[in-house]
């Protein structure tokens, strides 16, 4: 009765290939391409779904957080079971995406994107899609994209407002030139402070996804060259022209020669780390990065002996502390301290409960986490 797999799935992309600018040739290009999606929260989950359904050959997901009930209102790939199981977002998303399109190679990494790992994560991809929730990580991604000469498709949403732009090495200015680097104040509006409506997520993710499909199918000339600012409530939409690269910028300057002013020499500036400690935390969660990886099982035992209520899964340990806060610990050596926005308090709790687990005192690399 059952037909062969190839026959069953032959029409999977038929409605997309009938769209003339894509066609069979564009579809083959999609199948041969790979993208990195950084942040698999609201924007990231929607972007991932668009890329996987469209048939992009390889989709890399990276996210530092896990699924919670407050995500379900807008983060389309997650359900109640994911929140109850406290699955990392990258893992939960990959599970769903594999069921949507098994032809796509999907990799999921539970990690914080930083200057140390960003180049490796972006290696070999044709573009980077922005699903992050903070300016610092975006500045880092823009820097690495301009150095590796791959497009960075920015998207941001908060309240009922959103923005999106394609930042194209060789054509446009980089993000740092447009919004200022670490010296510029503020992280911008976030979902923590303004809330966020799911329709603005879908609109902005769609704006990013369509430009990604244009780029990956060889339709670069069709790419929208404007910075889009949208408010859905009240309704307002505005496009601004994006200037070209700025002479003297180490990332987008000197574009005529086809490479950034620094070329191969410099390290990517770790803007993320330097900025992170300044991000306000509306969700009462502080991320503390410890010296070295955790052994989850041993850690769970130790925390139980300290009279904490401990929940464990394959990817993380969560300990409810008697003081009211909770620690969520990932094997890569990160702790999310929930229930405080005070960085000193977060570090103090980590020192107290995680003594002996890492190389001693936690490094001062602390970030506040937005609800992405």
């Amino acid at each position: 009765m059952a037909r062969q797999d190839e026959t069953i799935w032959a029409d999977r992309y038929s409605r997309q290939t009938r769209f003339a600018p894509i066609g069979e040739a564009g579809q083959r290009k999609l199948a041969g391409s790979s993208v990195l999606i950084v942040g698999v929260g609201a924007l990231g989950a929607s972007l991932a779904q668009h890329m996987v359904r469209a048939g992009v050959g390889e989709v890399r997901l990276v996210d530092r957080d896990f699924v919670e009930p407050s995500n379900l209102q807008r983060q389309v790939l997650f359900d109640e079971a994911d929140a109850l199981a406290m699955l990392p977002k990258a893992v939960a998303a990959a599970n769903k995406l594999r069921g949507i399109n098994n032809e796509v190679m999907i990799t999921a990494e539970v990690a914080d994107v930083n200057a140390a790992n960003v180049s490796k994560l972006a290696e070999g991809v044709q573009l980077v899609l922005d699903g992050t929730d903070n300016a610092a990580t975006r500045l880092l991604l823009s820097a690495v994209c301009f150095r590796q000469r791959i497009p960075f498709i920015y998207g941001g949403a908060a309240g009922a407002e959103g923005m999106s732009a394609v930042l194209l090495p060789g054509h446009t200015a980089c993000l740092r030139c447009l919004i200022g680097g670490q010296e510029a104040a503020g992280g911008g509006d976030t979902c923590d402070t303004l809330g966020v409506l799911s329709p603005i997520i879908e609109l902005i993710a769609s704006m990013q996804a369509v430009e990604a499909v244009k780029w990956l199918t060889g339709n670069a000339s069709a790419i929208r060259r404007t910075w889009l600012s949208v408010s859905l409530w009240p309704f307002r939409m505005r496009e601004s022209a994006i200037p070209s690269g700025q002479a003297g910028c180490v990332y987008c300057g000197d574009q005529q020669s086809g490479r950034g002013a620094t070329r191969e020499d410099g390290e990517i500036k770790p803007e993320a780390e330097e900025l992170e400690s300044s991000i306000l935390c509306g969700r009462d969660t502080v991320q503390v990065t410890l010296g070295r990886p955790f052994e989850l099982e041993r850690l769970a035992e130790q925390l139980e002996q300290s009279d904490c209520a401990v929940t464990v899964n394959k990817y993380l340990v969560r300990a409810q502390l008697s003081s009211g806060e909770s620690l969520v610990l990932f094997p890569d050596g990160r702790a999310l301290v929930q229930g405080t926005a005070d960085k000193d308090r977060a570090v103090q709790l980590c020192r107290f409960y995680l003594a002996g687990q890492s190389t001693g005192r936690p490094k001062s690399k602390i970030g506040a986490l937005a609800d992405g």
């Binding site: 919004i179 911008g188 601004s240 937005a370």
Partner: protein, 284 residues
């Protein structure tokens, strides 16, 4: 008060009979009105109440003829009796609140101030205008140290009710006071002691108008986020600061094109420009 535009005044003249021996108060003050004085204050610190009342009645008739407000120094009761437009108080006279209680909400209450603390207090207490001075040493108020144009500049920055610079100001030094930010000038002896008060008033007004012209040259009409905005900001950086947005992460568009953050300080604004300041959206 039936003079809704009284606070548009530029040249404020105060009586000083001792400065014009041989000429009557009414004659001299009419000359100042012919010369274009915008507001007249009767100041008589030595005469009896009956004498002040007589002078007030005379000046009330005169100022009505020229449609100029009359302010009486110190005597709220004479203000009411002669239907003058307001009272001017010194720091040691009755409090503003008391004058307001006596005169009601519509009469003008002004007060002399000699430092920014007094100026802010006067503004807070409901004064309609303040005097700022003495800017230069003056024989009209011997013994009071001059405050210099730095207090004028301070008042221009911090005070939002009308302020009038006073004290030793002459057509020869008025440019300095205007450059410090004064838009209203008061002169006593330089005008009423002049052989030709009308000509002196015209000389003052000419300097004031010249300064206003310079100021107008610096003002630009912009459209900021769709709304008309008048500003003297020279660059985008200055505009962002004036609008109090310097601590936000912004995307700034000038006439349809985003201006790179590093270029804000050198990107000049011209009249008619359309600027959009949009806060960067960071959520995701």
């Amino acid at each position: 008060m039936d003079k809704p535009n009284w606070n548009q005044f530029r040249l404020y003249v105060i009586t000083a009979e001792a400065n014009h021996p041989g000429k009557t108060l009414a004659d001299v003050m009419e000359q100042t009105l012919i010369g274009g004085a915008h507001i007249v204050q009767l100041r008589n610190k030595t005469g009896s109440r009956a004498e002040v009342l007589e002078q007030a009645k005379a000046l009330r008739l005169l100022t009505r003829k020229y449609n100029v407000p009359l302010i009486i120094n110190d005597y709220p009761d004479i203000v009411l009796e002669t239907d003058a437009d307001g009272v001017h108080l010194g720091q040691d006279d009755l409090p503003i609140a008391e004058a307001r209680r006596l005169l009601g909400p519509d009469r003008i209450i002004g007060i002399s101030t000699h430092n920014i603390g007094q100026a802010l207090a006067a503004e807070r207490d409901g004064a309609d205008y303040i005097g700022v001075g003495p800017v230069f040493p003056t024989d009209t108020k011997p013994g009071r140290a001059a405050v210099s144009t730095s207090y004028v500049a301070e008042a221009a920055r911090s005070i939002s009710i009308p302020f009038v610079a006073i004290g030793g100001i002459t057509p020869a030094n008025v440019d300095e006071v205007l450059a410090a930010g004064a838009k209203r000038i008061c002169s006593v002896s330089a005008i009423v002691g002049s052989p030709d008060p009308a000509a002196t008033c015209r000389a003052f007004l000419q300097r004031i108008e010249a300064a206003e012209g310079k100021e107008a040259g610096r003002q630009k009409q912009l459209t900021v986020n769709g709304r008309a905005e008048q500003t003297n900001a020279r660059t985008i950086e200055e505009l962002v600061r004036q609008l109090g947005q310097q601590n936000k992460r912004l995307v700034v568009e000038l006439d349809g094109v985003i201006v790179q953050r590093a270029l804000w300080a050198e990107t000049e604004l011209r009249s008619g420009a359309a600027v959009e300041l949009v806060q960067f959206v960071g959520g995701g």
